[in-house]
Symmetry: C2
């Protein structure tokens, strides 16, 4: 058995470039085009045999992502309607993780797998009826309750610190809630396993224990430093306020993973403001700490 992970989109919400952004990384794209670093929004595809894939999160860029990845395209020896995507699992209800559901219409059957809390968000928006209930089975999965995600791939969801999606925020916002609104995923083919955690606001001891000694972890790399968006003048919020622990600094992921003995660590869900998108001291520091910087199309086999 082989366990395959394909980074479909390595960027956080907005992507790189972001449609209305003139900060350094996005501006480089507007100026230089394809010569500058670019990435689509957050999604990972997982397979055991390579024929059937589960998509973890459906980004608004999903049509362009499928056009760019032959693994996810209709197969020439199949029918007039075909996709190798057998299931879509959502790790939260943020726009960058659910917007792409609107593209997965056109009378195609697949399983849509969420926690009960994320299922409620979808149910509250009739536009998601674009996914015909007769064809798209909505399956609610509890935390710590292993299930079949794709042929040969077992998965299990666990709570990680997070917050409610921005578009559902009320007057007060709790940013490190442990519940069903933000989850990490453990994937396994019985022999090998890895973790996918594209959003995580903090590293409690229980989560560190869970990840310790893992063969592979894809982890939230939204920001390099907590006040990065404030410093760059493009926002008023810290990373933690947005539900994301930074890479650097006290309580950042570089520090949190330093003693966990994880064999392979890959950053995903990088915001377009993150300096690790280009060569420089921040990227060097992350790589020196044993991290790889994920990119669209990166495929890892376990």
């Amino acid at each position: 058995m082989t366990l395959r992970a394909l980074i479909v989109g390595a960027a956080a919400g907005g992507g790189l470039p972001q449609w209305n952004c003139n900060a350094r990384n996005s501006a480089a794209y507007w100026r230089e085009g394809a010569g500058a670093p670019s990435a689509t929004q957050s999604s990972l595809a997982v397979s055991s045999e390579g024929a059937n894939w589960a998509l973890i999160n459906a980004s608004p860029d999903i049509r362009a992502q499928i056009m760019a990845r032959s693994q996810l395209q209709p197969r020439s020896d199949q029918g007039l309607r075909d996709t190798p995507i057998v299931s879509v699992l959502l790790t939260n209800a943020d726009i960058d993780h659910i917007g792409g559901l609107l593209t997965l219409r056109e009378r195609q059957a697949f399983q849509l797998i969420t926690t009960a809390e994320v299922a409620e968000v979808l149910a509250a928006n009739p536009i998601f009826n674009a996914l015909d209930p007769a064809l798209v089975t909505r399956r609610v999965i509890g935390l710590e309750d292993p299930f079949d995600l794709a042929p040969g791939v077992r998965a299990s969801l666990f709570s990680v610190p997070g917050k409610t999606p921005l578009y559902l925020e009320g007057e007060t916002v709790e940013t490190e809630v442990l519940g069903e609104q933000t989850v990490g995923v453990e994937l396994s083919d019985g022999a090998s396993s890895f973790f996918y955690i594209p959003g995580c606001a903090a590293m409690p001891a229980a989560l560190a224990d869970r990840l310790g000694g893992a063969a592979l972890v894809f982890f939230d790399g939204t920001l390099w430093e907590d006040d990065e968006m404030i410093k760059q003048g493009v926002g008023q919020k810290t990373g933690r306020r947005m539900g994301h622990m930074p890479m650097s600094g006290e309580g950042g992921s570089l520090a949190a993973f330093s003693d966990l003995g994880v064999a392979r660590k890959v950053y995903v869900h990088m915001n377009n403001t993150n300096p690790v998108w280009r060569s420089g001291p921040e990227r060097e520091r992350a790589e020196a700490a044993g991290w790889e910087i994920g990119y669209d199309g990166m495929e890892i086999t376990l």
Copy 2:
């Protein structure tokens, strides 16, 4: 004064290729890649001076569309957040026309202009609160009531035969409703004017009268023949059942426009099953009747 129209996306819902389609046109893309015809989903940009643009419909492909069109990108001499898009006008509430709204977030001000019926659809889906109400002004416009769409561009909405979006269909469906759920747009800079009608189920006499003698009409080119999707084995519905009159046949747009004296006629919103995407007798027949087949990036100046 100059009036500019830029086809941002020439394809109907699903785009070309469509994510799960193996019919001829989509399959050519999966096999040949960029060598095969391709197009993003339905959207037109309009400007008078070329600095500020109104977007008519926000397709799910909008991020890729902005990346492909320098006219719609942040300007290098502006602030850290910038867009030349000053307003977004919706002609109906179909997914291919509203899905892209979810991408136009990230604290950017613009006007979102709809009829009252389309406004209700948006209001019924809290996910569109991703467009911060403090920044994105929702403006409801009545039929036949001219308004400023962008600097130097006046617009007026008029009813065209259409139907409710698929995801809101009930047990019975009326397919040629004249109301506020599907509209056409007349654009004018005071000297020149043109029409944009990406969805239209039939050509009543009043609509023919309105379009007669126009300098330019962009018109619904979804299907070549009414039962095209049934014939190709990819659907059970006729074009008219989906709210779109075909190009060919009795009551099709080729016949309906033959005596209207429209100076320039451009098909848009072509479905991926339409044979006019490639060279052949259907495309020749449309071109012989004076039609141009729209494509992504086509820009027309009046």
